[in-house]
């Protein structure tokens, strides 16, 4: 590589390109063709006291923000946003920053492991020379009996596996994480399909909107792409000198987004559809238009009552929404992760149709049409097949289904029926502990690759991934393992290794009109690494949207509760994401924004309800749903409906290292296996009951309970 690009040229490119940081290509640790030299002849990137910056992509969630990693003497020191990246524009969230605690985590899998299934005491280190033939043998299984379960992000590995499975006629790899299900990605896409006639993920132009109605979309914390939405939120508030955007949030439990809203409307879970329809009707009336067909039969007053709010409030909000030129309604994970989620999502999207913001600034656009993730329903099918012993080999990478999937689904039991389970986990997570082989992939900061199709990007983006440090342990890129094994198994793909694959995949981009080009792939490759990916300079969103025919919808409304016995249960993801963040001490120690709690799981209860039930702060309660139960300490949370309780997702690990294990409880035990029409988990219309256990376990809060709540 370095014979093609001299260092001088690098610097020229770097100087010309990077706005703030000098970004060098990954000639150093990225190279698997490392030449060992005495340390007295230090390579330039390794000069003592000098920083070397690498552009890469954050793999901590599926959003795919661009990052720049500062390394010094071969160690990753700081991670910041890539200022040029079209998604996050130099910003980064707490999760992304902690990637280095994943890289340097002492609890990583240090090398390939063979273990007697489920018996961690009998695990033994193996070698890659022994492990690759195992993979190769596994790939020789009948095509229909091979299954791949990958993480949500559409990355190079997904493309590689897809290509391979297609070549031998195996089922396409599944992509799943709990976060994707909480976000309702599939529902969102299907709702767009039904409302606009295009199966694309909608893009919400928050920055230019004036009145925003969010239905359970916690876009400031976890939903789709929190960094880019946070930036847009900031702009919505203050970027326009004269107009300050107005945010209204409809949800039962005040999330961070609702906390930042100008108005928080605590509607009952399950009433989002009714409220959206009622709003549609009222908005139409306020604009002097005919109400849409779906909303004609709805009685706004009854809807408000069903939702548990004042009818007058609904009318006021509808007027506000109707009066603004840039109104926007966002269907979030909380609203659409329900039985009727698809219809709810449609009803909310319909509000946008109502104010005619489609394809306009401050409105709704559509992005690409590829499936953003695998729906949970398809994962169910896989579990079904596993149970029926139709799966001989299961490969798992980037997902931790044993932890993330609802317990009632019985993934763990199904896993036991699969003869060979091979995990490519970087960490000894719950799923890896139940696998036959753990063949650890590099950590994202040691890997090559790319991620395409970023959920909240307003243009085509390929975000590049490159190693910023040499691999610390005896790990191997999963793509390389598969390529080698596939070749040995007699079903080779035409790539020599991972880098070759990535390079060949990006060849079409050379002439695809991005913000740079190159005469040939090597030069293009170096720029690709230098800039942290490839994208076009102009916004490229699908503005050609029109409402397809609407269908009347009917909602059954929220479940009725036995007062003070039953509660709506809200399970919400936190900064720990799908739970993979639980082994990052910084994330554990970072105070939860709303409660300032750290390091544990808690149950949020409205103080009024808690008083009625005689529940105090830090009392351990048992939360029971028809699907399971868990115990956790109570946090008396003032910003939640009195008939609702909420539990954060992400803790309760039984594996995953010293900081995650044995901490808190996993609400996956409480969740149903039910899915909505689009195949996303219907997690937000569960009814739970609580009971005191008589135990107390103080929660680690940063706030002073006495100072904030006046309680001693």
């Amino acid at each position: 590589m370095s014979d093609k690009i001299t260092r001088r040229n690098f610097l020229k490119i770097a100087g010309a390109g990077a706005a703030i940081s000098a970004v060098l290509t990954g000639c150093g640790p990225m190279s698997r063709y490392i030449v060992r030299r005495p340390y007295t002849e230090m390579p330039e990137y390794n000069q003592t006291g000098l920083n070397t910056y690498y552009a890469s992509t954050c793999r901590e969630c599926a959003a795919g923000c661009g990052i720049i990693v500062r390394t010094k003497e071969g160690r990753a020191i700081t991670i910041e946003g890539n200022p040029q990246h079209p998604l996050n524009r130099g910003r980064l969230c707490a999760r992304g920053i902690t990637a280095q605690q994943g890289l340097y985590n002492p609890d990583r899998v240090f090398g390939p492991i063979f273990q007697a299934r489920g018996d961690t005491g009998r695990q033994a280190r193996t070698t890659w020379d022994e492990a690759i033939p195992v993979v190769s043998e596994a790939l020789k299984s009948p095509a229909g009996q091979i299954a791949f379960l990958l993480g949500t992000a559409p990355d190079h590995l997904f493309d590689l596996v897809t290509e391979w499975t297609r070549s031998i006629g195996a089922p396409a790899p599944l992509r799943y994480s709990a976060l994707a299900s909480f976000e309702g990605r599939s529902t969102l896409q299907e709702a767009a399909n039904r409302t606009f006639g295009k199966p694309a993920l909608p893009y919400f132009d928050l920055a230019n909107a004036e009145v925003v109605f969010s239905f359970g979309a916690n876009f400031l914390e976890t939903w789709l792409s929190p960094v880019s939405y946070s930036a847009a939120y900031g702009d919505m508030r203050q970027a326009r000198p004269t107009r300050r955007g107005y945010l209204v949030a409809f949800e039962a439990r005040q999330s961070l987004t609702a906390g930042n809203a100008d108005e928080w409307i605590p509607i009952k879970p399950g009433s989002e559809g009714l409220v959206a329809l009622a709003l549609a009707r009222l908005v139409a009336e306020a604009r002097g238009e005919a109400a849409p067909a779906a909303a004609r039969s709805i009685d706004p007053a009854a809807a408000a009552e069903a939702a548990g709010i004042e009818p007058a409030k609904l009318t006021d909000l509808a007027r506000l929404f109707a009066a603004s030129e840039h109104s926007l309604a966002i269907p979030g994970g909380g609203a659409i992760g329900q039985h009727e989620g698809l219809a709810i999502a449609q009803a909310i999207l319909q509000l946008n149709v109502q104010v005619n913001n489609l394809g306009l600034p401050g409105g709704v656009y559509l992005t690409n049409t590829e499936q953003p993730t695998t729906s949970l329903a398809e994962v169910y099918n896989l579990v079904q097949k596993m149970n029926n012993s139709q799966v001989k080999v299961l490969f798992i990478h980037g997902a931790n289904p044993v932890f993330e999937l609802p317990k009632v689904l019985g993934f763990e039991e199904a896993l036991a029926k699969v003869p060979l389970v091979i995990s490519f986990a970087t960490f000894p997570d719950e799923t890896a502990m139940l696998s036959d082989y753990v063949l650890p992939d590099h950590s994202p900061l040691e890997s090559f690759g790319y991620q395409r199709m970023l959920a909240a990007a307003d243009r085509p983006v390929y975000s590049s991934i490159q190693p910023v440090v040499a691999p610390l342990y005896d790990t191997r890129a999963t793509a390389d393992v598969l390529l080698t094994a596939a070749a040995a198994a007699g079903s080779p793909l035409p790539y020599t290794d991972e880098v070759d694959f990535v390079q060949q995949m990006i060849v079409p981009l050379i002439s695809a009109g991005g913000f740079y080009t190159a005469p040939e792939i090597q030069t293009f490759w170096s720029r690709w690494l230098q800039y942290g990916g490839w994208w076009v300079t102009e916004q490229a969103l699908d503005t050609d949207i029109s409402a397809a025919s609407e269908r009347p919808a009917a909602f059954s409304g929220p479940a009725t509760l036995e007062e003070d016995k039953q509660f709506y249960l809200v399970v919400f993801p936190t900064q720990l994401g799908d739970g993979a963040g639980a082994n990052r001490p910084w994330l554990q120690e970072m105070p939860d924004p709303m409660t300032t709690l750290t390091w544990n799981t808690w149950v949020e209860i409205n103080p009024e309800t808690a008083d009625k039930l005689g529940i105090h702060d830090d009392d351990v309660v048992r939360v029971t749903t028809p699907y399971g139960a868990l115990e956790a300490s109570v946090y008396r949370y003032p910003a939640i409906r009195p008939d609702t309780i909420a539990i954060p997702f992400g803790q309760g690990h039984t594996a995953l290292g010293r900081w995650a294990e044995g901490r808190g409880a996993n609400p996956a035990a409480l969740l149903p296996a039910a899915v909505n029409e689009a195949g996303d988990l219907a997690y937000n219309d569960v009814v739970a009951s609580i009971a005191l256990t008589g135990k107390r376990r103080p929660l680690a809060r940063v706030e002073s309970r006495e100072g904030v709540y006046g309680e001693h």
């Binding site: 706030e703 002073s704 006495e706 100072g707 904030v708 001693h712």
Partner: protein, 479 residues
């Protein structure tokens, strides 16, 4: 010697009328040699109980104080109960407490000496010893509470390779200087009147003790010139040490008063702390005197109800003064209306730790006011012992209220906090109590705890004279 002879007027209360003047030490003279013998016996008698106590306290110092402190040094300050926002806890509370205790010696000795209060004579030394040992115990705390005690010398102003001078704007440096000055001057002030007694002891001991006393007595022979110089020196020191004493506790109070902490930033803290210190110190003198009286041989001859009575009156006066300052501090803080201060004062009286505040008021005001007006109570040593002990509990709690409780409720309610002393802290605090008692115990057998020459001098000056039929006490004013 005699310059002027004053006759006491007729005492008014009937009770006192019936009092036999012989009950007073000054009118119950004994021959000089007998006094010397009594004091020597007091010094040299060691019972089994004494040794048990000495060993117990010594072990207490070793384990509770140095053991716990060593443990804290080796593992870190996390063993304390300190936390954001309460960065000072019982260490500083106990520091202020000991510095307060140390005021007694100077007060009782120097001020009463300057004002020629005759009742001071038998217990000046006991009080001065308290000053020195109180300071010794208290002066440990600025070291104990340091996060990095091994570099404590960064605070000391001396030319150094670091090219750094301490920050003289910091009250902690003032503290360092004030406490060192006070420790030095109070030690000298303890030593000066000790010289004739050491010489007395030198002449009545043999062996190692004799050698030690010989060195310490500086060749005292008791000539007129020596007495003249000694008295001059004591006189000068008695005057000079009073402002030092005032400065020390004022400066300790400035640790708090010059800060920006709501509830600390009070202009009245200087005198308030001094009055508190004297109240606490004089009470501690009574406590100690009771212990001395009931444990040391012949002490009941030297220490009599009259002394408890006189000190009881002083305590009552200081309790009232303390109440006055407390009221001033509290009222004006409340009246000033600064939200944070009001909040703190409200929480002191109604918060979760309100019991501390109420106990303080009961111990410092209610108990002395209800009891000390009564002559009988004042003259009952064991009652005085209990009362003064309670006053010191109250004074300890006063400092506790001012330090951790005030720090815990500052301007941002988000950062409020509750402080609970942890075992290591409590151990160290108890350890310094052991240290103080241990030093006192050992010293009681090494030096004459009663300034025997002062008692003799007093007894010489006091006589009962016949005026007509009545025997009237009279005192020859010395100097």
């Amino acid at each position: 010697m005699a310059a002027e002879t004053k006759l006491f007027g007729k005492l008014k209360t009937t009770e006192q009328e019936h009092e036999d003047p012989k009950e007073q030490l000054m009118f119950d003279p004994r021959p000089r040699e007998e006094l010397n013998r009594m004091v020597m016996e007091m010094m040299t008698t060691t019972t089994r109980k004494f040794w048990l106590w000495a060993i117990g306290l010594g072990a207490g110092v070793a384990v509770l104080l140095f053991g716990a402190w060593g443990y804290m040094i080796s593992t870190g300050m996390w063993v304390t109960g300190l936390r954001r926002p309460i960065y000072w806890g019982v260490f500083i509370v106990t520091f202020v407490f000991w510095i307060g205790i140390s005021h007694a010696g100077t007060f009782v000795s120097a001020i009463l000496r300057v004002f020629k209060s005759e009742f001071r004579r038998p217990f000046t030394r006991a009080a001065e010893l308290m000053t020195t040992f109180g300071l010794a115990a208290g002066a440990l705390y600025p070291l104990i509470h340091l996060g990095r005690v091994w570099v404590f010398y960064f605070m000391v102003p001396y030319p150094n390779a670091r090219w750094l001078w301490p920050n003289f704007r910091s009250p902690l440096v003032w503290d360092l200087l004030a406490i060192t000055t006070y420790l030095l001057s109070s030690t000298i002030y303890l030593y000066l009147p000790l010289v004739p007694d050491l010489a007395m002891a030198r002449d009545r001991t043999t062996g190692l003790r004799h050698t030690a006393y010989k060195i310490l007595a500086l060749g005292w022979r008791g000539t007129e010139a020596e007495w003249f110089r000694l008295k001059k020196a004591i006189q000068i020191f008695a005057f000079a040490i009073i402002p030092v004493m005032f400065s020390v506790h004022t400066i300790v109070s400035w640790d708090f008063a010059v800060s920006q902490v709501a509830g600390w930033h009070s202009t009245i803290f200087g005198p308030y702390f001094i009055i508190g210190a004297i109240l606490s110190g004089v009470s501690a003198v009574v406590t100690i005197l009771y212990v001395l009286r009931s444990t040391l041989k012949h002490m009941d001859y030297f220490l009599r109800p009259e002394h408890f009575d006189a000190l009881g009156k002083l305590i009552l006066v200081f309790s009232m003064s303390w109440a006055y300052f407390f009221f001033n501090d509290y009222l004006l803080g409340w009246y000033g209306g600064e939200a944070a201060v009001r909040q703190i004062l409200t929480l002191h009286a109604s918060g979760p730790a309100a019991w501390v505040w109420y106990t303080m008021l009961i111990c410092n005001i209610v108990i002395p006011w209800l009891t000390l007006w009564n002559r009988k109570i004042r003259r009952t040593p064991w009652l005085m012992f209990i009362i003064t002990l309670l006053i010191n509990v109250g004074m300890y709690l006063e400092r506790y209220t001012i330090i951790p409780l005030t720090l815990g409720h500052q301007r941002t309610p988000f950062d409020w906090g509750v402080y609970t002393p942890q075992p290591v802290e409590i151990s160290i605090v108890l350890g310094t109590f052991c240290l103080f008692t241990f030093l006192y115990l050992i010293m009681s057998r090494l030096i004459p705890l009663v300034p025997v020459w002062e008692v003799q001098e007093g007894q010489v000056a006091h006589t009962l004279r016949k005026v007509g039929k009545a025997e009237v006490p009279s005192v020859t004013e010395l100097d």
